[in-house]
């Protein structure tokens, strides 16, 4: 696909492929440009929100128009640097969703609203751009750029909370550890480049098939890249930043981080693992199995001991990465890549909805920027806010994997993928961990409904946040019951990955 003449190195098709992303980026810059033009006054947050959500919607619309007709097909652009296939399209929508909703949360939320909302929104959109790059990248170096774009914006976003101490500390921790992990991953990229000669995924897949048993430099590269991905999706032992950063960041940012980052990174991770060759390295399978098991276990057992609701959700997010990793391992090391990848994507989708809703609720409960929501603060809420209470119940039950919610089907498909590949050990630990997780997922419910009532706090009338929470809860149930169409869609998106 190398161009013959320098002049046609960017074709119309290339431009179209990134058009949604580009348009989104450009629209999101409008408020940013308006600000200095209007004499550096703060813009009305509503305007900013409208522009940015509008950008997301326009991007979604464009994605539908441009890629919709050929959904499930596959094409590459920019000299193989990016690939537009079903996953790209599907995950683009997810990214739009997890960008739009946290934006609304941020609009409502006390720690992000007001000053610098323009910049905040722009950075969030930019981070989303990074994710879009990440999910469509077909080249490790593009992946790396995507990760960096996404992460660098996030470092700033975390710091941008109006909360003074914890958010800054969290941002700095996140930054240092993130860069540290990036460097490690980059080292892996370098080794892969050195052994394969390029960093295109297809070349690496071929390299995996050929070299994984023979070339130790190559294998080292693979391991380091995997660990780089593992950091972003917080796999043990690279998960340690997660609770701290999630707690320190303002809740809308946490919602954004915990969903979008994970989803986008997992897609790239999945692409990276898309080679039959991995099956030749059983020791890699063993180690990754252990990482998955430990991730689930550490996430769950640590969550049990937490009292801060955000930390509970943070650890839950760690353990959920473990579950997704179960599917990922099945995809990478099993014979049925597509099936397992579908399960991972489905899981990510379910996880995203549930987590967005949960953090939305947390956001709703925070009265000022310094509030840290303890689980016990939920007392009496079930009575006073029956709909929100019910929404939280549904979300928690879904996270715990109680049927017929989306969370159940997510777990079901992931465990199916593992069992299909005879990875009983993984499935077994997944199940054991589900049981452990029940304890802390049920605690908010216990507190809400079953503790002695106290006068519940008055919640702000954040209509967007409330809407998002309720919608998430409804979606978790409805899409759980209608998981077949969703699954079919995901499956169709995966079908042409090879």
């Amino acid at each position: 696909m190398n161009p013959t003449t320098p002049m046609d190195f960017v074709t119309l098709k290339d431009m179209l492929s990134i058009a949604p992303m580009a348009v989104m980026f450009l629209i999101s810059m409008i408020p940013l440009l308006m600000k200095p033009l209007l004499g550096n006054r703060e813009l009305n947050p509503k305007t900013v929100l409208l522009y940015n959500v509008g950008a997301v919607i326009v991007a979604a619309f464009m994605t539908t128009t441009i890629f919709g007709p050929s959904f499930g097909g596959k094409s590459t652009a920019f000299a193989n640097a990016i690939v537009i296939d079903g996953i790209t399209v599907w995950m683009s929508y997810l990214v739009y969703l997890v960008t739009g909703v946290p934006l609304m949360l941020a609009y409502d939320h006390v720690a992000t609203r007001g000053r610098q909302f323009t910049e905040f929104a722009f950075l969030m959109m930019s981070s989303a751009i990074g994710m879009l790059i990440l999910i469509m990248s077909n080249d490790l170096i593009v992946t790396f750029i995507g990760i960096e774009t996404m992460s660098l914006c996030l470092y700033i976003l975390v710091a941008m909370s109006k909360e003074q101490v914890l958010s800054k500390e969290a941002a700095f921790k996140y930054f240092v550890l993130g860069s540290f992990a990036s460097a490690i991953m980059l080292y892996g990229v370098a080794l892969l480049y050195g052994t394969v000669g390029t960093t295109y995924y297809p070349d690496i897949w071929v390299g995996v098939t050929k070299m994984i048993t023979t070339n130790r430099m190559f294998l080292t590269g693979i391991v380091l890249v995997i660990l780089g991905f593992a950091f972003k999706v917080s796999i043990f032992p690279l998960h340690a930043w997660t609770p701290d950063v999630y707690q320190g960041a303002s809740t809308p940012v946490t919602a954004f981080m915990s969903t979008a980052v994970k989803a986008a990174t997992f897609v790239s991770f999945l692409r990276f693992m898309n080679s039959e060759g991995y099956a030749q390295a059983p020791q890699l399978l063993t180690v990754m199995t252990w990482l998955a098991v430990l991730t689930m276990t550490i996430g769950n057992v640590a969550a049990i001991m937490q009292s801060n609701f955000k930390r509970v959700l943070a650890y839950s997010s760690v353990s959920n990465s473990g579950y997704a990793m179960v599917g990922l391992i099945a995809a990478g090391f099993g014979a049925n890549y597509n099936g397992a990848a579908t399960s991972v994507l489905f899981y990510l989708f379910s996880y995203t909805l549930m987590t967005l809703g949960s953090f939305g609720l947390v956001a709703l409960f925070e009265k000022n920027e310094n509030t840290s929501l303890e689980v016990t603060d939920l007392r009496g809420m079930g009575r006073k806010y029956p709909w929100l209470g019910m929404a939280l119940t549904v979300l928690m039950l879904s996270l715990a994997g109680i049927p017929p919610t989306l969370g159940f089907f997510g777990k079901f498909f992931v465990f199916s993928a593992a069992i299909e590949q005879d990875m009983y050990w993984l499935a077994f630990w997944g199940v054991i961990n589900s049981v452990i997780s029940v304890y802390f997922y049920l605690r908010p419910i216990v507190v809400m409904y079953m503790s002695e009532d106290k006068e519940a706090e008055v919640l702000p009338m954040h209509i967007l946040t409330r809407g998002a929470v309720i919608l998430a809860a409804v979606a978790v149930v409805v899409l759980g019951l209608l998981s077949s169409p969703v699954y079919a869609l995901v499956k169709k998106s995966v079908v042409n990955l090879f």
Partner: protein, 643 residues
């Protein structure tokens, strides 16, 4: 009327009586309740007479039966709610409904001052219904229904005055002890079903093979053994007899009906019902005989020492039931049925008599506080006297014939043994002694009645049953006059009963020389004279020289204490079975449930929490520590993958 309708009336009459009285259980009207109940029982009696009459005379059928509906049908297990009166159940049904009616009648007077007479009569009718189920059921399962049903009624009636903890406990004890037997009965049913593929009596008997099962674990032996366990429970044999004396806590007519005349004989009835089967299990027969004999002697000795009028009668009942089992055990099922019948008459009579006494004494049951009551209670005394003569086996009263047949069979039957006979005789001697003692202390001698009590004769509703039963106690035995005696009596009366039961009750095949009539007469003489001597001795003790018993007792203090305390059997059960069981249960609850299973679960959760704490402590907030985890992850992963 067709058999079906008759059977329906026979069974439903008491049930309707039960419902009638049960639904107006708050009523205090003893006369209405009693009348309804008595009429219901009377109707049953009439129906049974009509039905039994069909077994007689021209066109006699071997059995009348009626089938109502299919109760259960699962796989090969089909049980019909069908009823049958044959030659065995005919005796039983007449005794039960007849004596039952009389006792109902008696109860009207006896319970007239009670708070809840309706409830009482409702229970009594319910009992009658269940007893009829037991007797008439055409299969083992229906018998079991009645079997448990009478147990339930017994439980309710013993605990009738439930405010008294002791009485409630007695009811419970009765039910639970019976349940132990019932469990055996159940196993017996199973064994029989899987042995013969049916639980219908007719079919079982039809399928019994003629080869005796000489093993201990063969199916026939096991079946009989299980059924016998059931019988020991219901019929108060060793080791399950302990409930019966306590059951005297119930109203006295109940003791008469349930704990003397009818229910407690159900075990004997059941064994007789299945006599062809039991004959095929000689080992079990031996067990039955030994248990029966032992019970007869043991209960009789306990009876020697009791002071409570009803307790004495209760132990006497146990002892007499022992005789019946002894009869069954030596294969003399006819004799057992015979004694069952005569015992029903005289023991019901005596219980009702004692009821009359208690009624007169305003509830006092201790015979030490009675004496010379014949002055106040002439009818009671007269009828009680007849009962006394009957039970100590004086000819020509009913008890003589039946008891003597049992002793004779114990001596001569192929399953018999001289020791069994001896035990029977010892039992008879003891019986004569304690019954005379009872008579003497209650009716004769000096009055020891407290000043406050003014004994008075009972109303006619109570006397009439007494009189009828007294007549029956006299003539009841004449249907089974032994051949040896018949031969020397005028008119040469035959053994009608034996003839009647011929065909439904098999006799064990005799071997060796046919025992002579002379021997029979001699043995008869021995036992009767010994009993008479014993009675005289008792008279001497308690009427002539009232101070002698105490002197005598002081000489055999230890033995007396042992017997007086009923050989400490109850205490043994409590100390060795019940209390350990309760302690064990508490221990199990504490150690298995609370301490082991729950603690294990807690331990698991503690492990999880411990891991959580560990995970938490690793999360110490230090950025460089986190970086170290990453580096460690890199190092370890690389090491593991690339080694």
């Amino acid at each position: 009327m067709s058999n079906t309708v008759l059977f329906a009336i026979l069974l439903l009459a008491p049930l309707i009586g039960f419902l009638f009285n049960g639904l107006r259980w708050k009523s205090h009207n003893a006369y209405l309740a009693g009348t309804v109940a008595t009429v219901a029982a009377g109707i049953s009696f009439l129906c049974s007479v009509v039905l039994v009459s069909k077994l007689f005379g021209e066109g006699a059928v071997p059995a009348v039966s009626a089938k109502f509906y299919e109760w259960m049908a699962i796989g090969g297990f089909n049980v019909t709610a069908g009823f049958v009166i044959d030659h065995i159940s005919a005796i039983m049904v007449l005794v039960v409904t007849g004596v039952g009616t009389l006792i109902h009648l008696f109860s009207i007077g006896y319970m007239s001052h009670d708070e809840r007479p309706s409830k009482y009569f409702a229970y009594l009718n319910l009992f009658l219904f269940n007893m009829l189920l037991l007797i008439l059921g055409e299969n083992l399962l229906l018998m079991f229904v009645g079997w448990e049903g009478v147990g339930l009624c017994s439980y309710l009636l013993i605990g009738f005055w439930f405010s008294d903890s002791e009485k409630a406990a007695a009811g419970m004890k009765a039910f639970i002890t019976n349940r132990i037997g019932d469990a055996g009965f159940l196993l017996g049913i199973f064994t029989i079903f899987f042995l013969f593929g049916t639980v219908n009596f007719q079919e079982i008997i039809g399928r019994v093979s003629g080869v005796p099962d000489l093993t201990w674990t063969g199916p026939v032996t096991l079946a009989c053994l299980f059924l016998f366990i059931g019988a020991t429970g219901k019929s108060a044999q060793i080791p399950l007899y302990v409930w019966l004396p306590d059951a005297m806590a119930g109203p006295t007519p109940v003791s008469a009906l349930i704990h003397a005349a009818t229910m407690v004989t159900a075990g004997v009835y059941m064994i007789c019902r299945l006599n062809p089967l039991f004959l095929m299990a000689p080992n079990v027969l031996n067990v039955i005989a030994i248990i029966g004999a032992a019970t007869a002697v043991m209960a009789a000795t306990i009876g020697l020492t009791q002071w409570d009028i009803k307790k004495v009668l209760a132990y006497s009942t146990v002892s007499q039931l022992g005789y019946m089992f002894l009869a069954c055990g030596v294969g003399a099922f006819g004799a057992a049925m015979f004694h069952l019948m005569t015992h029903a008459f005289f023991k019901a009579l005596m219980f009702l008599g004692s009821g009359s006494v208690i009624h007169a004494m305003e509830g006092e049951q201790d015979i030490r506080k009675m004496g010379h009551l014949k002055k106040y209670l002439p009818i009671t005394h007269a009828t009680f006297f007849i009962g006394w003569v009957a039970i100590i086996g004086m000819p020509p009263f009913a008890g003589f014939f039946s008891k003597d047949e049992i002793l004779w069979k114990a001596f001569t039957s192929p399953h018999g043994h001289i020791l069994l006979w001896l035990a029977g005789v010892i039992g008879a001697v003891c019986t004569a002694f304690y019954m005379t003692r009872l008579m003497a202390l209650t009716f004769w001698g000096k009055s020891r009645v407290p000043e406050s009590v003014h004994p008075h004769e009972s109303p006619p509703s109570m006397s009439i049953p007494l009189i009828i039963l007294a007549v029956l106690s006299v003539v009841g035995g004449w249907i089974g006059i032994p051949h040896a005696l018949g031969a020397i009596l005028p008119g040469h009366p035959g053994n009608w009963l034996e003839h009647w039961l011929h065909g439904v009750i098999l006799e064990p095949a005799a071997h060796g020389a046919h025992p002579s009539a002379t021997l029979e007469l001699a043995l008869m003489g021995v036992s009767v004279s010994l009993a008479a001597l014993s009675a005289l001795l008792a008279y001497n003790f308690y009427v002539t020289n009232p101070e002698r018993p105490a002197q005598f007792v002081s000489k055999i203090r230890g033995l007396y204490e042992l017997v007086y305390n009923k050989y400490f059997v109850d205490e043994f059960y409590f100390a060795r079975i019940i209390n350990p069981l309760i302690d064990a249960s508490k221990g199990m609850w504490a150690y298995i449930d609370v301490n082991f299973i729950d603690k294990t679960t807690y331990a698991v959760s503690d492990v999880v929490r411990g891991m959580g704490s560990a995970a938490k402590s690793f999360q110490n907030g230090n950025l460089q520590q986190y970086a170290m985890y990453i580096a460690l992850g890199v190092a370890v992963t690389m090491f593991l993958i690339l080694r």
